[in-house]
Amino acid sequence: MIQAGELSGGYGSGLIVRGVSFSVKKGELFGVLGPNGSGKTTLMNMISGLIALESGTILVKGKPIQDYSPKELARVMAVLPQMTSSHFAYSVKETVSLGRYAHQSGFFKSWTADDEKVVLGALQKTGTLAFAYKPLSALSGGERQRVFLAQALAQEPEILLLDEPTNHLDLSFQKDLLDLLKKMTADGLTVISIFHDLNLASLYCDRLLLMKNGSVHTIGAAADIMKEEHIHDVYNTDVQKQPHPEVPKPQMSLLPAASVENSIEITEDMIEWHSDYISIKSPIQLKVLSSGVIGAGWGWRSAFVNRHVDKNYNMDHFEKEASCYFQEKGFDLHETVGMMTAVMMEDAAYKRIVQDDVSVFAVATAGVGNAVDVSRQRKSWKEKHKPGTINIWVFANGKLSEEAFVQGLMTAAEAKAKALADAGVMDLESGTIATGTSTDSILIASTQRGAYQQFAGSVTPLGIAIGRAVYESVTESLEKTRRRKAP
């Protein structure tokens, strides 16, 4: 649809865009990214024919752009600039109707039913029909932006150029606008858009052009552009890449400049003992991966609660009941990981292990009424729940990679299984040594301060500390439970 070859140009003296080449296919959503002053808008103005090329060629549908008359070009290409304003109080519909200018011909430029239909359609698509008869000056910035989008759509273009279209829009309209563009590209519209927001661009664009100092840095699919080293190179700032939770597109998070941090260690001094629960309140938020009843998954949490419930606890609405309970006790649900067990709280055990440059503090409550050998064949879901579960907390006082979290979980699970084996806990159904219980829960929390730990395998400092802390705390808790239950 558009082929740009070795484009150079700018305003007055000095080139702003230098030797940019790319091509955009029909129906593509093509994003242009780059820091302020990298020449994105200048490039856009060159493509839209607003400023003359110093050198290079732009072919629009195979024909050089300078061979188009303004009207011809406007029938093929529409532009939504960053800001448009008028000193006169045009109504929304009058403004959108101007989009039909290029389609009107003849001496009287008569307004046809077709024009009316296109204008109404554009108003509808952009959600501006409701204020079609209001003056532009009565609208908010975001509403105005949508009106000018409607104007561009009224041109019935094959190519739509947008300069930071989501700039003035609130969150839901950003999404609506981009969803609309995406849908229209499926119908054959070609969209070239400047983006400020890397993540939005990555989510929606088929391909991206990353600009630096007026030249192309990289062109490619989102996955090729959204690399930490590219972004660091172009924007000169630190970012971290993560996957989008729902869509297979990379996302970037800014990393704020690190402030001076006191090192923090989670130790037994922080445990608060209550009759029906124990808790640890951390002075800072810890990065946590957990399977708690409350606060499961990844998160930043500062409170950790292990709650004793009666063995006849009704499991039907446990999530709702648990939320109420934790809130009642004064825990902020967004900051809390909550677990539940039938084990008495005085049976909880903990262990702190220091290995090389890292220390691990583990807390466990172990009940084994439900012990299971995971290697045996069985039906999913036992008919009747017996009480007894193993809850393990692992606090790592170091800076962990995500890899270390996953390996840490593995190491902790191995340590737990070994503790059960050494204690001779049996799966009552199969009569073999149990590896855990059917309702075990675990969390790994890290202060993210101190020495960097990339791995937590069983022979790394972190792995060794986790393994021993978990093994010893589980063993001790099992022992305590056994002793209390012994006649």
Binding site: S69, P70, K71, S91, E94
Partner: protein, 352 residues
């Protein structure tokens, strides 16, 4: 439910047209009727009918006929033409320059026309072929010359000729020519009064020949401007946006500038500088009919004509038999009205 809204909107537009036509007609008859000799509307109608269609008007005194047809009629028509010219040129320049405070004189056209006229008076130039028309003809020519100088100069500064550059160039030329006019006034002896009264503007004692002189400029200029209405709508959102919408901005901008300047120059040449018409009338029209140039331009013409006829009527009757300069009247009415509009707008919180 947008439909009833559309209907009232259309009705309003039609209503505004009716209103302005009624206003023009009323001003016209009043202008012809009122004076030292009062002439009834019925007689005016008969006289017009006679001159246009040759109907019988034997019941009318021939002296009344000559007052109406030879003196008042041309005066009223000329006032109407000038009012229409200034108002449409004002509306067009405001749209093109994206500035509601622009007027037909912004680009230095009036200074050009005035400089030519003052030169004729100062040097007592009389070109034999033109006779009494020496002044208006030279004035139109200097006005057109000025526009071209402004445009060439603006292009020399910046090839794409952004409106900001044009406005600045206009201001430079206005100031320069203004100084030139002041110089001639300062050096003038007994001609001073004549120059000043020309500068303040008047439509008296011009007669049909002046109308004939002005008519061609008026016709060509207004038709061109009316035809440019959709482009003006697009350009009032900015030149870049107009370009995106498919307007050949450079070309259309030239057409509007030249057409507007030519009719302004012609108006100044025959009547002197008459202020505020080109500023107030388009504003009023926009309040009543919205900013769409396809309506603003014709409505401004109609209302501007009516307004200047009434202003001229006031100028010659207020302290009759002495005539006040019409430019004084328009400014006396225009400035307070404009102030009132602005205050009103500010209160409503709207933008002009």
């Amino acid at each position: 439910m947008p439909k009833p809204f559309i209907q009232t909107f259309l009705l309003n537009k039609k209503g505004v047209y009716l209103l302005s036509f009624a206003f023009l007609l009323a001003s016209f008859f009043l202008g012809v009727s009122v004076g030292t000799v009062m002439i009834p509307f019925r007689d005016i109608a008969s006289i017009i009918a006679h001159h246009l269609f040759g109907t019988d008007f034997s019941h009318i005194d021939p002296s009344v006929d000559s007052i109406v047809w030879k003196i008042r009629f041309p005066r009223v028509v000329l006032a109407g033409l000038i009012g229409a010219s200034l108002a449409i040129a004002g509306a067009a320049f405001q749209g093109l320059l994206r500035n509601p405070l622009a007027d037909p004189y912004t680009l230095g056209v009036s200074s050009g026309a005035s400089a030519g006229a003052v030169m004729v008076l100062f040097f007592n130039i009389s070109i034999p072929v033109l006779g009494v028309f020496t002044l208006p003809v030279i004035s139109v020519l200097t006005a057109i010359l000025t526009i071209f100088c402004v445009l060439v100069f603006a292009q020399a500064i910046e090839r794409s000729m952004k409106v900001e550059t044009i406005i600045l160039t206009g201001i430079i030329f206005s100031s320069f020519l203004g100084a030139f006019i002041s110089l001639m006034i300062a050096l003038t002896g007994e001609e001073l009064r004549q120059i000043i009264s020309w500068l303040l503007g008047s439509v008296s004692m011009r007669g049909w020949p002046y109308i004939q002189l002005m008519a061609p400029f008026f016709m060509v200029g207004t038709l061109l401007l009316l035809y440019m209405a959709p482009e003006l709508n697009a350009m009032s959102f900015g030149e870049d946006q107009a370009r995106h919408l498919g307007v050949n901005v450079q070309q259309k901008k030239m057409v509007v500038l030249i057409a507007g300047s030519v009719i302004t120059g012609a108006a100044v040449a025959v009547s002197g500088t008459i202020g505020f018409v080109g500023l107030v009338i388009p504003h009023f029209v926009r309040i009543l009919a919205g900013p769409d140039h396809r309506h603003v331009l014709p409505l401004s013409m109609i209302s501007g004509a009516g307004f200047l006829i009434l202003a001229d009527l006031a100028a010659r009757t207020i302290i009759s038999p002495t005539e006040l300069p019409i430019g004084v009247i328009t400014s006396l009415i225009g400035a307070p009205v404009f102030a009132a509009i602005l205050i009103n707008k500010k209160r409503k919180g709207g933008v002009a």
